[in-house]
């Protein structure tokens, strides 16, 4: 950053809806969404890897679309529905992508994982039955320094499968009801 302006700008109130809950915090107007989530809301599942829009670790869903929270100001995320990795499931009730990552050993250090989980969750919503080729394409914008991507790729396909299984069983359950 190159600004040499030493006076801190006036603070503003920012209200965000994250994982279905509304939060208001008073922050600098240029507070990044990633910092707002991590520091102000303590949602530290969103990780910051490059601060540059390249690695994808900070990806969150904005109205269901994957966005890099390090490239977005918190103020501009107002009026949108935000979902972070914490909103995609819990240890007891995992989302399909989360479960697939566990099953497929799709992580090593885990630092890139939340960004993959959010990215892939959005992807399988749109592509419920992706080919391996489409799976590769879907994650080509996220970096992982540990795994060599093989298992992440498998996890994409497996996640879609789990999602389909779940929706069939819930439809069946619905029909029985």
């Amino acid at each position: 950053m190159t600004d040499t302006d030493q006076t801190a700008p006036a603070l503003v109130d920012v209200t965000l809806r994250v994982n279905g809950v509304e939060h208001t915090r008073t922050v600098e107007p240029r507070r990044l969404l990633s910092d707002f989530l991590r520091h102000d809301l303590r949602l530290t599942g969103t990780h910051v890897g490059c601060e540059h829009g390249v690695c994808g670790a900070c990806t969150v869903l904005v109205d269901g679309d994957p966005m890099r929270s390090c490239l977005m100001f918190a103020v501009s995320a107002q009026e949108h529905e935000l979902t972070t990795v914490e909103g995609l499931g819990t240890q007891e009730a995992m989302g399909p992508v989360q479960q697939a990552f566990v099953e497929c050993h799709g992580l090593q250090c885990g630092f890139c994982t939340p960004g993959f989980v959010t990215t892939i969750s959005a992807f399988i919503e749109e592509n419920p039955d992706p080919t391996l080729e489409e799976a590769r394409e879907a994650i080509s914008g996220n970096l992982c320094r540990c795994t060599g991507y093989q298992n992440i790729c498998k996890a994409v396909v497996r996640a879609a499968e789990i999602r389909r299984e779940r929706s069939t069983s819930s439809t069946e359950a619905g029909e029985r009801a």
Partner: protein
């Protein structure tokens, strides 16, 4: 089978288990060091003032303007250091320097109520510099004879005379670039002061004990007043073996001076511009072969780019010299190493620790000489493999040579190499503007720290009254799956289900005096210690069980949580046994200890048996190169790798895949650039962000990547018959580089020798294939004849006598 390596039936080790914290990671609940400060009250944030010169004296430093900035609380400078103003272990890394030695070096740190306030404060600090001339590149350093540290030589026989007798003699130079770790989590620390002035530091460190020591010496405290904890790391790769210490020390200093918790997290630009990287190397060599292509002699001088201070450069160099032989028998050898001092970040440990650089030299030599000898590169490599009973140039006996051969043959069969080579030839003869090639390279990598003393570890195992087990050990988790393996070891040794065992974070007040989690040795060393602790507890429990079941203690077994005794049908549950044992006043916790037996090493003569064993692997890689752009694709990779009897196959295969990809990144994509011009930006890291430093993404991955674990690979010398896996697979990626070389050569006449820069970026490949195509010969190509003597060590260079060896010498002398 040794007691250490023997595995019970139905062991928990060997199962393909998920990562122990996978549930936490996928739900965003796993905490890293920098996730703690939002959960901590009254935290101050630290920000560095970075020097804009590669080399300069700090003539004045005015902090007053920073203190005017709202939210700035304090500026830390050299005057504030109560202990030693040094962030390393060699006394050559001032924490607050008066002489700037690289562009971006921190001269002081600002503490603010927010990171933003600290950043503004850092901009306000006024520093006057007196710029000095700088040395940046290896070539400049070699020309200026700017070296640091010892200049060791590994020697056997008489290489110069052997070269005279050799039928074919060549000489050349090899250069390779370094590599940025780019662990996804940057360096971070959070320090706080306890009631009596003790310091507690959370640090993303591979070496908590050394972080503790550095924090203590900077603060002028004793080690027992400092506790360091590492929850986990978002990647380390060696980059957090020494680099975290200084940052932990700054945070701790800030905490001591302000009484408030201090968070120091490097942002990505800080991390790239301030922390050390893999060493780039230069080598000058000459080599002799007989008529059949057998290596007869090699003389080489390797010069590494150490950057501004030594940190781990000497041990990295030692490992490089110990890996120039790779899997090949070279009767007469002289290998000399030097560390250049340049005005760059202090280059440091990185997965392989010099091994990859050493191996690259010999693979480069073989790859360049094969066409000149008229022998296929894979044939030349195979012909030179070690056989059992031969020794390495540093004197270690080879005992598992068959493993390289078996892996080599299996790769050839599984990869269908004969058929595919024919297809490649067919492809090349029918495509004017593209070439394909398949290369096969072996890996033989020594396991153990070169310095014998570091091959020890501790563990603390508690069994609570309800039967649950808590394990603490000295190793740190950075994604390599160490904790998963340690859980498996504990469950196997105690004979209890995995769910009964938990792991606690690594901290220095639980297990003291630990070695770095490095040298791939984490599972070997800590696994030995965990096993030892569990065995002590089990022995005590067996006494109690023996009494209860009325059998001798030796007849008692615990299998999957059920206590059984030979000769009786009576059983007991684990929980019952533990419950009884507690009331019978039995100690249910134990400290375990392990040290690797049979190692010895003398750094002053570079001879000994420093490694417990070697890890082996072979990779066959097929690439395609485009003539117009030099763009290349990796079409298929087949790997057979030796992990002993795997402790955890999913983890191990993951390490192999990840290591290979990281190695391929180093060799073909990742391109560190510094501003080497004479302008104002001289010394600036030009690739200081993820957008200018290209990391492998999935698009750069091989289209087919087959990984197989070598069978019949039991290792006598390690815990439950396993082998270390962290580093060795990285060097399998040398097959990518060799395949690219062969593909470039295929554009030229047969017998074309290609000098391929490293990294072999598309640009580098383009120029290499252009040269092959036109038959042009550039300077620095391999030439026949002995050529100039690779530099001999400077007799005035300091002798290498590591503290660890001196201490034990004294013992022996006493």
């Amino acid at each position: 089978m040794s007691r250490l390596s023997q595995r019970p039936d139905d062991a928990v080790v060997g199962r393909a288990l998920r990562h122990e914290s996978a549930d936490l990671h996928v739900t965003g609940r796993a905490l890293y060091t920098d996730d703690l400060h939002p959960r901590t009250k009254d935290v101050l944030h630290a920000w560095p003032v970075q020097a804009p010169h590669a080399h300069a004296l700090v003539t004045d430093l005015r902090v007053a303007p920073a203190l005017e900035v709202p939210g700035v609380v304090r500026v830390l400078t050299a005057q504030d250091v109560p202990g030693t103003n040094d962030g390393g272990i060699k006394g050559d890394e001032p924490l607050f320097p008066s002489e700037v030695c690289f562009h971006g070096q921190a001269v002081c740190w600002v503490l603010g109520e927010t990171a933003e306030a600290a950043r503004r404060g850092a901009l306000a600090v006024e520093v006057d510099y007196d710029a000095l001339p700088s040395t940046l590149t290896l070539a400049e350093a070699i020309a200026a004879e700017s070296f640091q540290g010892a200049q060791p030589t590994v020697q056997r026989g008489d290489a110069p005379s052997a070269l005279e007798r050799a039928a074919h003699v060549f000489h050349g130079e090899t250069e390779m670039a370094g590599q940025e770790h780019f662990y996804l989590e940057t360096n971070a620390a959070l320090a706080r002061v306890e009631d009596d002035g003790r310091v507690f530091v959370e640090s993303s460190t591979q070496h908590p004990t050394e972080t503790q020591e550095i924090v203590a010496h900077v603060l002028g405290l004793q080690s027992h007043e400092v506790t360091v904890q590492c929850l986990r790391m978002g990647g380390g790769f060696g980059g957090k073996e020494m680099q975290p210490h200084a940052y932990a020390a700054v945070a701790a200093l800030g905490a001591r001076l302000t009484g408030r918790p201090v968070r120091l997290r490097l942002n990505r630009t800080h991390d790239l511009t301030m922390t050390g990287k893999r060493h780039g190397f230069h080598a000058r060599w000459r080599v002799g072969f007989d008529d059949e292509g057998h290596l007869l002699a090699l003389e080489a001088t390797l010069t590494s780019d150490g950057g501004w201070s030594l940190d781990l450069s000497e041990p990295v160099l030692a490992r490089a010299l110990c890996h120039v032989d790779n899997a090949y028998w070279i009767p007469d050898v002289r290998l000399t190493g030097r560390v250049a001092r340049t005005h760059k970040t202090s280059q440091t440990a990185f997965r392989g620790f010099g091994g990859p650089q050493g191996m690259l030299v010999i693979e480069d030599v073989l790859g360049r000489c094969a066409p000149l000898l008229g022998i296929e590169p894979h044939e030349l490599r195979r012909r030179n493999f070690y056989v059992d009973g031969q020794t390495t140039p540093y004197g270690q006996v080879i005992t598992q040579a068959d493993r390289v051969r078996r892996a080599w043959d299996q790769v050839a069969t599984d990869g269908d190499l004969d058929r595919r080579r024919a297809e490649v030839a067919e492809f090349n003869s029918t495509h004017e503007h593209a070439r394909r090639a398949i290369a096969v390279t072996p890996v033989k990598f020594g396991i153990s720290f070169n310095l014998t003393a570091f091959n020890q570890a501790g563990a603390l195992v508690h069994v609570y009254k309800d039967g649950s087990v808590l394990v603490t050990h000295g190793g740190t988790e950075m994604g390599q799956g160490l904790h998963t393996k340690m859980l498996q070891v504990a469950a196997t040794t105690l004979g209890v289900p995995l769910q009964l065992v938990r792991l606690a974070p690594t901290r220095t007040d639980k297990v003291p005096n630990t070695s770095a989690t490095a040298a791939s040795s984490g599972a070997d060393l800590n696994g030995g210690a965990v096993k030892d602790a569990c065995e002590q507890i089990l022995d005590r429990l067996a006494q109690v069980a023996g009494e209860r079941l009325q059998v001798p203690a030796a007849a008692v077994r615990v299998v999957d949580g059920v206590v059984v005794a030979e000769g009786t049908d009576e059983t007991l549950s684990w929980a019952e046994l533990v419950h009884t044992a507690y009331f019978a006043r039995t100690q249910l916790f134990a400290a375990g200890y392990y040290r690797t037996e049979g190692l010895h090493w003398d750094s002053s003569v570079m001879q000994g048996s420093p490694f417990k064993y070697f890890a082996h692997g072979v990779a066959a890689t097929e690439v395609e190169v485009d003539a117009f752009t030099g763009a290349h694709r990796t079409l298929r990779v087949d790997i057979v790798h030796d992990v002993g009897d795997s402790l955890s196959p999913l983890v191990d295969v993951g390490q192999i895949e990840g290591g290979f990809v990281q190695g391929a990144g180093w060799l073909t994509l990742e391109d560190l650039r510094w501003d080497t011009g004479d302008g104002a930006g001289r010394g600036r890291l030009a690739t200081a962000s993820a957008s200018t430093y290209k990391l492998p993404s999935i698009a750069d991955l091989p289209e087919v990547l087959n990984v197989t674990l070598l069978s019949r690979a039991h290792e006598e010398g390690a815990v439950y018959g396993s082998k270390a896996v962290g580093e060795p697979p990285l060097m399998l990626a040398l097959s990518v580089r060799e395949a690219l070389r062969q593909a470039c050569a295929a554009f030229g006449a047969s017998g074309t020798s290609v000098d391929l820069p490293s990294p072999a970026t598309p640009e580098a490949v383009f120029w290499a294939l252009q040269e092959a195509r036109t038959g042009a010969r550039a300077q620095g190509h391999v030439d026949p004849g002995a050529g100039p003597t690779p530099a001999l060590p400077d007799p005035d260079a300091p002798e290498r006598r590591p503290e660890s060896e001196v201490a034990v010498d004294d013992l022996a002398g006493a």
